[in-house]
């Protein structure tokens, strides 16, 4: 992993945004010291202009304004330079502390910074312009009142700009996150569709089913026929599921019943099952083919390895604000993985299910794996009652 080394050896602290960025055109160029210096000059000149305009509105004569303007301009730029220089050095030496200030602390920081910079700037500016001693200038009370007033105004303005910048960034991040969620939902749905298609022609299931039918046709034709019929039901249901974006608990239950019936012919007494979906939940919308992989897992890793087989129960009920769907089996439960095998605990692969739920419901849905007594496991899904899975536009 590369990041720790970067931080430990001192990577560049986050850049400071410039107040001018409130105007969109100034956002075109990325933040850098040269750019920010130019912006500071522009900003300072703008402030100088604004102060002159205010003076003019206050009734000062054009002549006086003309003579005062260069001084105002110089002082403004000196102040601007001081403010920016201070922010830059403080940010670098305190390792990005300035860029991370928030709320009232940031406002106070601005006020403090500008209140110090303005008198110093005025003093320096006057000294440069007219060689007057800065102490003389600073002794005038008017200067201090003027400084504080300007400081509060400018600081307030900078703070508001910073806030709007933050809000913009948050909106952009939210949009990006949203887009990512939609993209990953689409990807997962495409994968699920592919899986469903594969499941229809999934070699072992298809092969075993047909082999069983062949074996039974001569001796027990009625059973063979029943198996084929239920297999056809399963294929039809999974085709429908793989095409649509929405399924209901009722349609999923029908699909699972067909699947389990096919397996029951092969496993006989070793597979018993029960599906329990109350009437009021039959129409509850779920993502297609959500439960089938869980049931398949439960049989392959839970019941198949057990000599006497067991029972699978699929049940749904309302639990507070969620719909709780549980798939329980009385199988072998968690066994230590055979040495050398890569799958933990026999491959109870819930990670795909979890990913799918995360992209469909955000954090509102959850999956838990529980151990049953005396044996077996339960997969418990909690789906939000009032939200249906994000509807995803069908792929072109």
């Amino acid at each position: 992993m590369n990041t720790p080394n970067d931080i430990i050896t001192g990577r560049r602290p986050p850049p400071i945004a410039h107040p001018l960025e409130v105007i969109p055109i100034f956002r075109r160029w990325p933040s850098s010291v040269p750019r920010n210096v130019i912006y500071t000059v522009i900003f300072s000149c703008a402030v100088a202009l604004m102060l002159t305009v205010i003076d003019m509105a206050g009734g000062a004569s054009v002549q006086r304004l003309r003579s005062d303007f260069p001084t105002t301009l110089l002082i403004s730029n000196v102040i601007g330079g001081l403010v920016y220089g201070a922010m830059l050095t403080l940010n670098r030496s305190l390792n990005g502390w300035v860029a991370r200030l928030r709320g009232v602390r940031r406002l106070l920081f601005y006020v403090a910074l500008v209140s110090v910079s303005v008198p110093v700037g005025i003093g320096l500016g006057n000294m440069l312009m007219s060689r007057t001693s800065p102490l003389l200038v600073l002794a005038q009370r008017g200067v201090w009142i003027y400084s504080l007033a300007t400081a509060v105004m400018v600081a307030g303005f900078m703070y508001l700009v910073h806030r709007s910048g933050e809000r913009r960034m948050q909106a952009a991040m939210a949009t990006a996150r949203n887009n990512e969620l939609i993209a990953s939902s689409q990807r997962l749905l495409a994968e699920a569709r592919l899986r469903a298609l594969q499941a229809q022609i999934e070699p072992h299931f298809l092969y075993n089913t047909l082999a069983n039918v062949v074996g039974l046709i001569g001796t027990q034709p009625a059973r063979a026929q029943h198996m084929l019929e239920r297999f056809i039901d399963y294929l039809r249901a999974s085709l429908a599921a793989s095409r649509g974006d929405h399924a209901t608990l009722a349609s999923e239950a029908a699909l699972l019943a067909a699947y389990l019936d096919v397996l029951a012919v092969r496993m006989g007494e070793r597979l018993r099952y029960r599906i329990d979906v109350p009437d009021e939940l039959r129409g509850f919308a779920v993502a297609p083919m959500l439960l089938q992989p869980v049931v398949e897992n439960a049989i392959n890793h839970g019941l198949e390895p057990k000599v006497e087989g067991g029972e699978i129960v699929i049940a749904a009920r309302v639990l507070g604000e969620s719909v709780c769907v549980e798939i329980s089996d009385t199988g072998v439960g968690l066994v230590d993985a055979a040495p050398g095998s890569k799958k933990p605990g026999g491959g109870v692969g819930l990670s795909n299910l979890r990913e799918r739920l995360a992209s469909l419901y955000g954090g509102a849905a959850r999956v838990e794996l529980l151990e049953n007594q005396p044996c077996g496991m339960t997969v418990r899904l909690m789906l939000p009652l009032n939200a249906s899975p994000t509807s995803i536009p069908s792929t072109p």
């Binding site: 992993m1 990041t3 720790p4 931080i7 390792n95 968690l334 933990p344 959850r366 529980l370 151990e371």
Partner: protein, 243 residues
């Protein structure tokens, strides 16, 4: 096809098969490979150790790897479902083998050897791995939740934090408490995937987004998709830098 053939017993699983073979001492055994409890290979392995093992014909669903092993073996196999043609061939082979055995009972050793070779090859995956299996790192955590036991896959864990007599297991959708102390967990976890950053905190590497130093100079670990940051204690900072 083979009128003299008498089916003496049928077994539904490996254990019953061994018992019935012991009782009935058949000449030929058709063994399915995939069975609950004991696999057909396990049954065959046991039979080979016996005094006079029966002829074994494996019956298997299509499995590329197994079929290849069978192709190069003297032991016969049948694919499910078996075509009449193929079955006829198998029967012919069996008849010949049984005849040979009647004429030269000692020659049974050759079949046994072929069977052993086949088993070695097919069971090879499991056998090769055995020496590697020292102590597998922890894969599942059992946490009590009310009167039930919740199973948490090690992949779900973001970090462990010790909490008085318990250890807190932090997951994406919540938190669970387990009794195992952090010190014991450390021994059981894969060190490459779980890093101890503090006497009371072990974090999962896959959930670490990065690190930063706060203004006090402490090293902090940032987690992916979560707000909280974990402090790396001084004693563990050096360990961390090496990664």
């Amino acid at each position: 096809m083979w009128p003299e053939l008498r089916v003496v017993a049928k077994a539904a699983n490996g254990l019953d098969a061994l018992r019935l073979i012991d009782e009935q001492a058949p000449d030929v055994v058709f063994l399915d490979i995939r069975m609950p409890g004991m696999t057909g290979l396990d049954v065959a392995a046991r039979l080979v150790e016996g005094r006079k093992p029966p002829h074994i014909v494996f019956v298997t669903a299509f499995d590329q790897y197994a079929v290849e092993a069978f192709e190069h073996s003297a032991v016969d196999y049948l694919l499910k479902p078996a075509s009449l043609d193929r079955l006829t061939k198998s029967v012919a082979k069996l008849k010949a083998a049984l005849q040979a055995r009647r004429e030269a009972p000692a020659a049974g050793g050759a079949t046994a050897a072929a069977l052993q070779a086949l088993l070695a090859q097919l069971g090879g995956a499991a056998q090769v791995a055995a020496p590697v299996a020292a102590a597998e790192p922890l894969q599942w955590i059992r946490a009590s939740q009310g009167d039930q036991t919740r199973l948490i896959s090690i992949d779900e864990v973001i970090y462990f934090q010790s909490n008085d007599k318990y250890t807190s297991v932090m997951l994406a959708d919540g938190e669970s408490l387990i009794r195992t102390p952090i010190s014991k967990l450390r021994e059981q976890l894969d060190e490459r995937q779980f890093w101890q950053i503090h006497r009371s905190v072990i974090v999962a590497a896959r959930h670490v987004a990065g690190t930063r130093q706060d203004f006090r100079g402490r090293l902090m670990v940032q987690l992916k998709g979560r707000d909280e940051q974990l402090v790396v204690s001084r004693n563990y900072v050096d360990l961390f830098r090496q990664m």
